[in-house]
Every structure is written in structure tokens, then in C-alpha cells.
């Protein structure tokens, strides 16, 4: 299978941080240079391994936020009780290095031949693999229709805001909205999805990434709207005891 072929044995490689981009007050993108990087597919993830001076290690998985053909990049949200994310969002600077292996995963992946129309749904930093997919679609001049539904707490928490202005995006701000906000202002539910998702008759392909409660709501809602469950691909994070 494609996934296995892409993997072919995973080795830890050195990733050097070439740029640090502040996305929001709590979120950073780290652009990386990885010696021997073999390229990746849109939607795949990597494992990051940090090692302390006394040999203590911690590993976490992050979605790749860059498109195939671009150098790898990860977008990390700082979790207050986290172990790895505070390091990656606060301590790391340009020129630092850590270990990384990947790309990983053959399921939550989009290739232009997979077609669409694409309905992407992201909660918070679950938007990272969606950027990879949207960029890939753009870079390959794919004519597949794509729409992103993106739920954030506040406008300040919207990641890739400028870049997403060039895409078809429907935002919902669940916690606070700026004056004059005309977008959605609530948690996702089936009524909201009925308004924003492609009709089921179009045979859409859905990718859903975010916290578990978001993913459960979206996936269940899309099934209720008639989406084929085999065409709803989900990726979840959070609630894992701190990342």
C-alpha cells in the first residue's frame, strides 16, 4: 500500500529550525530543514523527539503544515500543562535542532487524484494539515473545489489568517467575536454543517481535524447529512494528558 511504501522504515533525522513564525499568541510554525528528507504527502505527520541533557526524552506527533515539495514545517500550539509544546513554542529559536522522523501515515492524506469536492473542517490547530492540503491543491493547479470550515476561539486565535484569506473559508469564532462580526459565532452542529458543507449529492471527500469533541460533532453531522462514512477522514488530538 501507498502508506507502507512511503514509510519504508523510519529513521530519526536531525531537523534544524530555519524560521520561526508567530501565528497567534499561543501558536508558532517552525520551518525545518531535515537532512535526507524524502518528501511527504498532504496530511501526513511526523514524530518529534526532544532529549534533555540527562538523557530524558519526550516524543510527540505533529501534522505537517507545509505542502508536498516544500520543506517540512510544523505548527505547534502551546498547551499550558504541556511538556513538549512549551519548548517548541517558547524556547526553540532559529538554528536549534531536534530529532524528527517521518513522514508518517497513509490514510489522512489527500492527493489530487483523490478528487473531491473537498470539505475540510478544522478546530484550532487542527488547521495545520488543512494548510498542507490547500497549498497542495493550489500548487498543483487542481480544479477540485475546496472549502474549509474553521472553528477558533477568537479572531486572535485564527492561525494562517492572511494565507487563508485567499481560500474559500467559513470561520466560526466560538468564544468572542470582534465588533461587526458577520461569521458564525457558535460551536459546530449539524445545522451549521448543512449551511456550509458541500451537499452530499456532490460526493464530497471530507477531512476533519481538531479536538475530539469537534471531530465527533463534525463527523456525526456529516453522516447525518448523508456523507458516505468512508469519505470522512478524521484526525484527533487533545486529551492525551498534555503534549
Amino acid at each position: 500500500m501507498a502508506g507502507a511504501a512511503v514509510l519504508g522504515g523510519l529513521t530519526w533525522r536531525v531537523a534544524t529550525v530555519t524560521a520561526v513564525v508567530d501565528e497567534t499568541p499561543r501558536v508558532r510554525t517552525l520551518e525545518l530543514e531535515v537532512a535526507g528528507w524524502q518528501g511527504h504527502l498532504a496530511g501526513q505527520h511526523v514524530d518529534v523527539r526532544l532529549t534533555a541533557e540527562d538523557g530524558y526524552r519526550a516524543e510527540r506527533a505533529y501534522s505537517l503544515a507545509s505542502a508536498p515539495g516544500e520543506p517540512p514545517a510544523i505548527t505547534v500550539e502551546r498547551l499550558e500543562d504541556g511538556e513538549v509544546s512549551p519548548y517548541l513554542t517558547e524556547t526553540v529559536r532559529r538554528g536549534d535542532a531536534f530529532e524528527l522522523r517521518g513522514p508518517i501515515g497513509g490514510y489522512f492524506v489527500w492527493r489530487p487524484v483523490d478528487g473531491g469536492p473537498l470539505f475540510l473542517a478544522a478546530g484550532g490547530s487542527g488547521v495545520a494539515p488543512m494548510r498542507s492540503i490547500l497549498r497542495h491543491r493550489r500548487n498543483t493547479m487542481s480544479d477540485v473545489r475546496a472549502r474549509l470550515f474553521y472553528s477558533s476561539r477568537t479572531l486572535e486565535d485564527v492561525i494562517y489568517r492572511t494565507e487563508l484569506d485567499g481560500e474559500e473559508v467559513v470561520h466560526s469564532l466560538t468564544r468572542a467575536q470582534p465588533p461587526g462580526w458577520t461569521g458564525y459565532a457558535r460551536r459546530v452542529d449539524v445545522d451549521l454543517l448543512r449551511e456550509v458543507a458541500w451537499p452530499a449529492e456532490d460526493g464530497p471527500l471530507a477531512f476533519v481535524c481538531g479536538p475530539t469533541s469537534f471531530v465527533e460533532s463534525v463527523a456525526a453531522g456529516l453522516v447525518e447529512l448523508g456523507y458516505a462514512s468512508g469519505r470522512i477522514k478524521t484526525e484527533r488530538f487533545g486529551g492525551t494528558g498534555g503534549s
Partner: protein
């Protein structure tokens, strides 16, 4: 190779947890995270069956028949490939030994199949001898659908993706046949103590 990450200290291990019970690369959680590849299926109990197949159906149970089978309480530590482990989880269900005891076979492997199309493969010796169950309660309550209810496989000595949610039966096989995650880059066997996370580990 060991590359020191400048300025990284780490939170160190969870001091409450018995570290000898936590496989390498795992952290103990008290939550019960949910992970699956797609939407949560909902099958009503009057349409639910559990089957043992080998090309044809050898044996099938309705929900009521299944619930009438001898049940075991199981307390086990579980280990998810996404790096959380949860200690002392408690379940109740039917031993796979009991289920396979009802059919004649000489299979070497099984493929668990589920609502939603999910499958996962296991050697027969990993689901027999008191190592695997089809469970329908968690912590004394009926198993939630998001955690695999009405019934899921429980094979706690392997990474938790082998404990297939929404399980509906076992297919008996002579040869190993990769399941869903196993064809998508994950390890064919999945021993957490040997960190067999991905194909090639």
C-alpha cells in the same frame, strides 16, 4: 544517536504511576482519549450480531445470545500508539477463548472486522489463552459508542488500535493479512514494549 535539545528539561515522568508498567515512549493519562479514523457508527442492538467466519459464517450470536455467554471481568493497562497509556482500566466481556471454543478451526491468524469497515489483524496466539476479550462494559457502565460500544475487542498487551472498536466478528485466516492501520503505515504486530509503532519499527 542522541542530540541534546538545547534548553529542554522535560516534565519528567508521572511520579504516581508505576514506571515499570509504562512502555517506552508512553505517558500515563487519566483521561480516556478517543481516536478513530472516521465517524462513529451507531448500530442498534436488535441488528447487532457477532460472527466467526472463515469464508462462510461458522457461528453467529445476536446481542441477547452474546450477553448470555460467560463473562469475565478484566483489569488491564492499555497503551495507545499516540503515546498515552492508561493503567488499571476495568472492563467486562466475553473471552475470545469462549467464542473460538464454539467452532472447529485450525487458523493461525484472525482479522477482526467492525462497523464502519475497520479491520485489524492478530496472530491467533495473541487472542487465545486469556489474552483477548470482546468487552461491552467499561468501568461498570455500558461501553459508550465513541469508545467502541456496543462492543469492542480488548487485546491489552498490544497497541490499542488492535483493540478494534465496534467489533462485529473475527475472520479466521491461515496467513496474516494486514488490517486498516496496518496497510496505512502502522506495524503489523504492534508490541508496545518493543515500540512497534510503524511499519519497519
Amino acid at each position: 544517536m542522541s542530540l541534546i535539545s538545547r534548553g529542554f528539561r522535560g516534565r519528567r515522568r508521572d511520579t504516581d504511576a508505576d514506571q515499570a508498567r509504562v512502555p517506552p515512549g508512553q505517558s500515563v493519562t487519566r483521561d480516556f482519549p478517543v481516536l478513530s479514523a472516521g465517524a462513529t457508527p451507531h448500530t442498534s442492538l436488535d441488528r447487532w450480531t457477532f460472527s466467526i467466519e472463515n469464508g462462510g459464517v461458522l457461528r453467529t450470536w445476536t446481542w441477547e445470545e452474546f450477553r448470555a455467554l460467560p463473562r469475565d471481568p478484566v483489569t488491564a493497562d492499555i497503551h495507545c500508539v499516540t503515546r498515552w497509556s492508561k493503567l488499571d482500566t476495568s472492563w467486562e466481556g466475553v473471552s475470545v477463548d469462549t467464542l473460538l471454543g464454539e467452532v472447529e478451526h485450525d487458523a493461525a491468524y484472525v482479522l477482526a472486522f467492525c462497523d464502519g469497515g475497520y479491520t485489524t489483524n492478530l496472530p491467533l496466539e495473541d487472542v487465545t489463552g486469556g489474552k483477548a476479550w470482546v468487552v461491552y462494559t467499561y468501568d461498570g457502565e455500558p461501553l459508550d459508542s465513541e469508545h467502541g460500544g456496543p462492543a469492542r475487542l480488548l487485546v491489552p498487551h498490544l497497541y490499542f488500535w488492535k483493540s478494534a472498536k465496534w467489533v462485529r466478528g473475527l475472520r479466521l485466516l491461515d496467513e496474516d493479512e494486514p488490517g486498516f492501520w496496518e496497510t496505512n503505515g502502522y506495524h503489523l504486530y504492534g508490541d508496545p514494549w518493543r515500540e512497534q509503532r510503524y511499519s519497519g519499527d
